[in-house]
């Protein structure tokens, strides 16, 4: 967890005057995970409402952001759970959406070699300071096939374990790893061509 954002540290309180700042931050978090502007706004709204209602109980053990993000995570997981009920990830016929399946085929030749060898990304950490890098990163997550992206954000952004994801989405561990792998191949390819090789 990052250190507290305010210099006041533990004495930070839920400040209703900063609500727009909180909202902007939470929206960014929700949007990348839900890929649906309306659903993201709903989740943020519910989060802020819940925060208002229990604001006095916020004991300042963590930063307000961390606390709000924790509430939002639950809202997002609820949403993803509902979504996977409506649109199951594992179909009886074993089929998946084509966009997902194509990633591995596009990445590797029939004999299992990289069609284009992954490059050495020079000093990649420097990019964290670059706003343009984050726009490309965001775009690359957005263009990921939807099912793969759902796994990716749960694993890498929300930091859930694969066990938790399997349970939430009612899917086998093997399938979960396959989807995560496709998501990573997709993101890697996108970052390399749209950012590191430009």
């Amino acid at each position: 967890m990052p250190s507290s954002e305010s210099p006041a540290g533990n004495s930070e309180t839920f400040d209703t005057g900063r609500i727009e700042e909180y909202r902007a931050y939470l929206l960014r978090y929700a949007q990348i995970q839900l890929r649906d502007a309306t659903a993201a706004e709903d989740a943020v709204q519910e989060t802020l409402l819940a925060a208002f209602q229990s604001g006095s109980r916020f004991a300042g053990r963590s930063s307000v952001r961390t606390w709000l993000t924790g509430i939002l995570k639950h809202k997002i997981i609820d949403h993803l759970r509902r979504q996977s009920r409506d649109r199951p990830l594992e179909r009886p016929d074993g089929g998946g959406d084509r966009a997902d399946e194509d990633i591995a085929e596009e990445t590797f030749s029939d004999d299992g070699h990289w069609r284009s060898f992954p490059a050495n990304w020079a000093a990649p950490d420097k990019n964290f300071e670059n706003a343009q890098f984050w726009s490309v990163f965001e775009m690359c997550v957005q263009v990921m096939p939807e099912r793969a992206a759902r796994f990716f954000v749960m694993r890498e952004v929300m930091e859930l374990s694969t066990d938790e994801i399997c349970k939430e989405l009612e899917i086998t561990a093997t399938n979960c790893w396959v989807m995560l792998h496709r998501a990573r191949l997709s993101l890697r390819e996108c970052l390399e061509t749209r950012w590191f090789k430009t």
Partner: protein, 70 residues
Amino acid sequence: MPRNEMVQDVKLIPTCRETSEVLSRAQDRPLTLREKVVLMVHLPLCNGCRNFRKQLAFIRDAARKYIRRE
């Protein structure tokens, strides 16, 4: 690409595709002995897969920073 051919000629050596799957799984759970052997055999021969391993670590780091950056 001679390195490429070398990997191709020896059937005992796991493919890049298989190796990439193992590298990806290593992000999510401890590897089995068999999986560890795949990496031990393949990685010294393949610059592409070594780069992929570094890229996976970077992607994880970036995903977490994406949310937390100011």
